[in-house]
Amino acid sequence: MEIAYIGEQLFWGKIGNFLIMLGFTSALLSGLSYLAALRTGDSSWKKLARGAFGIHAVSILGVIGIIFYLIIQHRFEYLYVWEHSSTTMPLRYIFSCFWEGQEGSFLLWMFWHIILGAILMFRTGEWESGVMSIMALVQVFLTSMILGVIVLGQKIGTNPFVLLREHPEFAKLPFIKFPDYLNRIEDGRGLNPLLQNYWMTIHPPTLFMGFALTVVPFAFALTGLLRRKYSEWIKPALPWTFLAIMILGTGILMGAAWAYESLSFGGFWAWDPVENASLVPWMTLTALGHVMLIQKHRGNAIISSIVLASITFFFILYSTFLTRSGILGDSSVHSFTDLGMSGQLVIYMLFFLVLAMVLMFIRRKDLKDNSPEEQFASREFWMFIGILVLVIGSLQITFTTSTPVINKLFGTKLAPPADVIDHYNRWQIPVAILLCLLIGIGQHFKYKQTDWNQFIKNVVPSAIASLVITLISAIFLGIDYPVPYYILLFASVFAVLANLSYMIKVTGTKFNKAGSSIAHIGFALLLCGALISNSKKEIISRNLKNVDLGKDFPNKENILIEHKKDTLPMGEYYVTYAGKVQEGIHIYYNIEYFKADEQTGEKKKVFELAPFIQLNERMGNVAEPATKHYLTKDIYTHITYAEIEKKDGSNEDEVYQSPTVMEMAIGDTIITSNSFVILEGLDKNIDHESNHLHDMDIAVGAKLRVEDVNKTQYKTLPLFLIRDYTMFHQDTEIPELGLKFSFQKIDPVSGKVEISVREKKSNKRNFVIMKAIIFPGINILWTGCILMVIGTAIAVRKRFSKSLS
């Protein structure tokens, strides 16, 4: 029987579904018409294609608009709205809600393609039909991801307008059968609190814009193959490639900044598979940008250009596959859930790979490279080497990141390396060294042929200066600082100085020509900052109580600090825990840092930090660090553990902590917060009457001696008994110490017993466990990031103005 549900607004969902279908068919129509226009050169095809793309754009924008409207209106009859938003959520997070789920993030990606398509349609002239046909085909695939229709028993895409009551898990529930079920839904599930962060408002759209931009060089390259204009596509595509490098790079760095500011792993980069998945296409994209420059100046890198454009786009799709198919499940914390779309994603990935390969195969005769050998002393030769280094570096990252895929394909059981950071660094530090050296010398070579004497004259001063700087820094870094790090330090300083000297000598005041130098300086500074802040980071919260377990077990990083009592020395600081404040779902812990006055020795407060724990019923509580920024260093402070009082629970649970259960042999000790508990022996002669036992009970007592900090001794005898074949325990209490004892088990074989101790919560001192790390020179890294973006922006502007003129 059909139930007449009350209060549902199904109208918008129906419109939305219609728009998705319309968006899908119009993208397909547009793509095919553009291909027809490309073949026939008939302008009526082109008109049709443009119109269809326009309809596609309007449809997708409509879908996006409707989802926003439904989120604002809290229409929880829609699963997507319920899953990702709630009435209590501040409106400023509405964008984050929108792209929290897969469907929304696909729409965000499509949104950028539409903006790009609208520009490319009118700006690319003779290239329009080819480039736009690829764009439209990409949109066909992306729209199919949100179709949510079943064809031949196979579900295609997940639809953002699915109703809550249609979800198989919900459909089973009794309350869904009530016509007024909507009133019974209290609230939406809400946005994951981890994402309630301003970085999460700007990082995803930037990253997806970068993703979207990589399709442009790919579309141009394929069009070049289709039109047999193998080298002509380079010029119009070049500014877009560098724009992609800039935007994708910015997106990745924003993710790093987010991790540094609000994630708990203590750093900006962790070689997480999801991070790697966006870094790899950036590396191949940067390689592509440079190979296109070689092609433009020397005309002998056409195959490499086409191959790299295809590889980059492939890696974008591969990264989408990795993060969205659920295959990373065990190895990454922040990938999406499997929505059963992996098959579709594989098809998407292979389609464009095969398309590029087939086109190259068909045109293989035209692509034969008859150009002369590069000169050793030419810029293109060294750029080519740099490109190879980038590609090799990206392949290494891909191999290791792909272990879950390899496991799936070959049935192996490889896990990520036990020390992931070390594994990647071993490979990527040499890559970074080579890149820095090449960046340093690259610009001092000229295309075609360079005069060696002139080159040496230009480069040697920078090299000597870098060597001097490296040697001076050795005073601070010490003899035992690893040699590869010294080499990287030298290489990055050299890259900075060499580019600086090039900038002063060659570009002079012509600011718009300085783009590449500034970007290269930025890149080298970024690596230099990463090196210094990581290799010289100092964990000042040294836990000196522990035995040293060696390098693999860094068990000395967390320290207990008691409320208003401890003043612990950490590095040059003295640290106290001044108290906590709860604001909404955040508990802030005030950690105060003092410094001793040099003359008087008096401790003065220099700053305080308030790292917090976000209470999060759904995802589990999350701790967020707080960081004090100085010009030369940052002090990072993170709460790794704190007791959090729970409001619910029985009376007993409110007063007592959860029990500590110990398996004890005679003579063993349990340590509580205020005493030692020693098992002295077992007593089998229990007086039945005084212990209120039945006649037939078999009872054993555990003789416990409890000694508090003042050496006062207490004796207690919890009982373990068997009554009518059932085990019981009779507990005892020492009220003076706030302790309860329970004798729960005897192991007849080993003779060991199980004793559980419960302590009053008020016993527990108010404390936190914290970690504090000093990151020196982290600002070198951020300066590098900013310079890299500015430099690339200048280069992009110059290339756009050139390509338009």
């Binding site: 019974r184 490279d369 190879l388 290791t400 059981k413 109580k545 860094p554 340590i671």
Partner: protein
């Protein structure tokens, strides 16, 4: 073309090295039984937290030691010594992956990955709370 051939060989050689190093460095998803056989090797052991058994964290004594019991996918139960502060909301995790080595009869771990059921968009827990209304 000669340069290009040399370059191609270099690229292939380094790629093979990269693959080999990935395989050599990678640890293995294994059970406690396998980990017991090679005590010096690092393993990733996937399992479930044994809630009935005691968990111990005494930061006063050692803020970097947390012990608990885990049952691996073959049903073998072992004590795990995790050399870290007790992870926030540890008890909420459903599946856990511990990374470390067997030492005697205990698994000494230096890292842990936890999966909370709800993190993976499983609406079941929410449904249960809803149907109580």
């Amino acid at each position: 073309m000669k340069n290009k051939h040399i370059i191609a060989i270099v690229v292939i050689a380094i790629s093979i090295a990269a693959i080999l190093s990935t395989v050599a460095d990678s640890s293995t998803y294994a059970s406690f039984a396998t980990a017991l056989k090679s005590p010096n090797k690092t393993f990733h052991v996937v399992g479930l937290l044994v809630r009935e058994r005691p968990q111990e964290y005494n930061p006063e004594v050692d803020a970097d030691l947390f012990t608990f019991y885990m049952k691996d996918m073959e049903g073998i139960e072992k004590k795990v010594l995790l050399h870290m502060a007790r992870p926030q909301d540890f008890e909420k995790s459903e599946q856990i992956v511990v990374i470390g080595k067997m030492e005697g009869d205990e698994f000494v771990a230096h890292d842990i990955l936890m999966k909370c059921p709800s993190k993976y968009n499983d609406p079941k827990s929410e449904i249960e709370s809803m149907s109580r209304n």
